[in-house]
């Protein structure tokens, strides 16, 4: 895979001939759509607040096993912008820290899922109408035959409920989407003449899969990855909503929502703010992903 990376980098590098203008044009086109810029801003905000949580959270110690019943159940105020929970912990601080596990979930899952899914999709697509295609794609179909959330719930529940297992379960459910996506592209790209000429020149399978076909899928994959960051985080939040994700006292957005939901309607802030935080992340990645997707499709046309 190293080769692919190198290839991609050099691809970018080769395009340096008009690097400045190109980057400028990208930004120009990207910023044409204000929603994409909003998305980018949200994502940057979320990522930064996750990275710098210990410094920007007003009460970093509240993200851990901290209790202070004297301060419990405070409504939003200048001291506690999002109020406090039943333990007297500052919800804003906990949200910042919860971004960490949310992003971690997204990154780890995609890091597992994308290489596997993409490779399988490439192989199945390239060997279309052979037994390899049949085996890979039928397995993919089986995984896709049940809503991913449900199987992920089932898998996490039979394992120990914790963040690692949640990531494993979501990964198990997620790779088929990449396989199917890449499969679709690979089956059409492999019929392109440039792939056939590479074959006729005697290029290796590896070269054809990863250097001829894959680079043409990258923009779509990248777009999907951006969107999926949001979706994986959402699935992770759903798992922790029923208690199958990150375990307390570590903050996680889903758990905060489900715990907070007990105290509706009086202590609405306990559920509503973490809920909005999930929405914010998903929204951010969605907007950004759409922006990137538009950008790529515009580049291609």
């Amino acid at each position: 895979m190293n080769g692919v990376l190198e290839e991609t980098l050099t691809t970018i590098d080769d395009k340096r001939d008009d690097h400045r203008t190109r980057a400028g044009r990208w930004w120009y086109q990207f910023s044409k759509n204000p929603l994409s810029v909003v998305g980018l801003a949200i994502v940057i905000f979320v990522v930064c607040s996750a990275i710098f949580a210990p410094w920007i959270a007003p009460y970093p110690e509240h993200a851990g096993p901290y209790v202070n019943y004297g301060e419990a159940n405070q409504s939003p105020s200048t001291n506690h912008l999002f109020g406090t929970d039943v333990f007297g912990r500052d919800i804003l601080s906990r949200v910042f820290f919860a971004f960490r596990s949310a992003l971690l979930m997204g990154i780890v899952v995609l890091a597992i899922v994308v290489p596997i899914g993409v490779t399988l999709g490439l192989i199945a697509g390239y060997f279309k109408n052979t037994w390899i295609d049949t085996v890979v794609m039928r397995i993919t179909d089986i995984f896709l035959s049940v809503p991913p959330l449900i199987l992920a719930l089932a898998i996490t529940s039979v394992l120990e409920p914790n963040l690692t297992n949640a990531m494993i379960a979501v990964s198990v459910m997620w790779w088929p989407w990449y396989t199917r996506l890449v499969y679709g592209m690979a089956t059409s790209i492999r019929n392109e003449y440039f792939v056939q000429s590479a074959e006729l020149l005697g290029a290796s399978k590896f070269h054809i899969l990863f250097r001829e076909i894959l680079p043409n899928c990258l923009s779509t994959i990248l777009t999907k990855m951006t969107l999926d960051m949001g979706w994986v985080i959402l699935i992770g939040a759903s798992l922790s909503f029923v208690g199958l994700g990150e375990q307390p006292p570590k903050p996680s957005l889903g758990t905060m929502v489900s715990d907070g939901a007990r105290y509706l309607p009086e202590y609405w802030w306990m559920a509503v703010f973490p809920g909005l935080a999930i929405m914010l992340i998903v929204l951010g990645f969605n907007l950004l992903g759409d922006g990137i997707g538009d950008l790529f499709s515009m580049e291609e046309s």
Binding site: P65, Y66, V67, Y69, G70, A72, N73, V86, F87, G243, Q247, P248, P249, D259, A261, R262, Y263, L264, P265, E266, Y267
Partner: protein, 521 residues
Amino acid sequence: DSQKIVRFTEAWPTYIDPAVAADFSSSVSVVNLYDTLVFPTYEGEVVPHLAESWEISEDALNYIFHLRKGVKFHDGTELTAQDVVFSINRLLTIGQGYSYIFEPVIDKVEALDDYTVSFTLQEPFGPFLYALVRLYILNEDLVLSRIEDTGEYGDLGDYGKRWLLTHDAGSGPYMVEEMRVEEYLHANQFPDYWKEVDPDAPLEFRFIGTTETATVRTLIRRRELEISDFRQPAEFYQNVAKEEGVKIAKMFGGSTLYCMMHTQKPPTDDIHFRKALAYAVDYDAIANQIFPGARQSKGPVSSILPGHKSDIFQYKRDLDKALGELKQSKYYDQLDEYPIDLIWCAEVPDEEKVALLLQANAAEIGIKVNVVKTPWMKIIEEVATPDSTSHLYLIFVSPHYAEAGSMIQSKYHSSSCGTWEQTEWLEDAELDRMIEQAIATVNKEERFAQYYAIQDYIVDLCPSLFLIDQPENYAYQDYYIDWVAAERAEQGERVNPVMGYNHYMLDVKVYPEKRDELLKK
């Protein structure tokens, strides 16, 4: 449809088969559907019920009960001694639910005639009459007619278990109208009940299977719920009490919160380590801030139970002492190598608060505690073997019958190891002997004296942190229902110490007009 309905919430699963029922929500249902030979009073005594009178033999091994005549089951047939025999046999055969109370003591049960039944015990069992409140009488003919052939009880098939999951075969004041698993149990008053019933008593009750706070909250606000469950967080009660006509009843029903410590697993196998923890805990914070209205437990037995030793030693928060104990522990130098897990039950959110507090308290003396949230079913599973059992468990325990012996036995006798009632794995032969002896003592005073000794012994052993006696907090519609248990609690009187009996529906009165009044506002 009558408006004379009482609705209350509780956690599912609920088993209304008396041979299976044992937990709170099941007990609450069963007490209303079935009758027992004797009936527990609010004062902790038992009075005649189906049995009008009884005789006890000299050696305390034989009990003869004379049954009331003319008692009808819900299908109209008469309740006879044979049904009593059937019920105890079925309970013992199935071996679930409350059978553990009777299993070690009953030798044989016979119907002497239609209205006389004789119980022969294997050995003297002091609290036998108190235990009998857990023997619910089923309609033998009805059950036998509902048996499904495929089951594990040979000729008896499934012994009617499947049918009894959603139906009753009792003679109690209420009969099942509809039971929807995981949703609700709806029961109507039995019109031919043998006892006189107050006209204001509810004509129906509906047990709603949820403890979802938001739902319960809404239902109360809309007057669609008369009595809440007691599993809600403190915040719920504070808020709901602001509703007009809603009151909170605090009932000390014998429920006690323990932090059980595994006495066979390092480092909690070390008594000094355990005592260090016992001195580190901030009991006041738990009793005042997390469970407002609770009180720190006095020893291993709930202070409401007859037989409780009221002047027993109490651990108090004292960090110096805690450190002192810790220094005596053999693990003092290697605390880092022994992180301990503290399990709390996912279904009881307030336990998390306790868990976090204990974690913080332990940290103050340098003990690292991992807090783990675990669903109830999983707790039951993992405490089955000493190896899979974790160090600490936060668990509420209630007595099965109204006497200190119930709690001592079910909590600390080695036979309860492997169940959720004892995750301490305290397999102490001396203690077992003391408990067996006390239980077998028929004379009440003598028995209680032995109970006191046992309580001291346990406190000294410090197998558990005796955290709080928890009041069961119920939000209820004070404006339009009269609820005996709640009123007694308000007056500071005892409530029924036998689990479930505070929900005896005949002790509730409903005034639908008043409800309408509230709704109009």
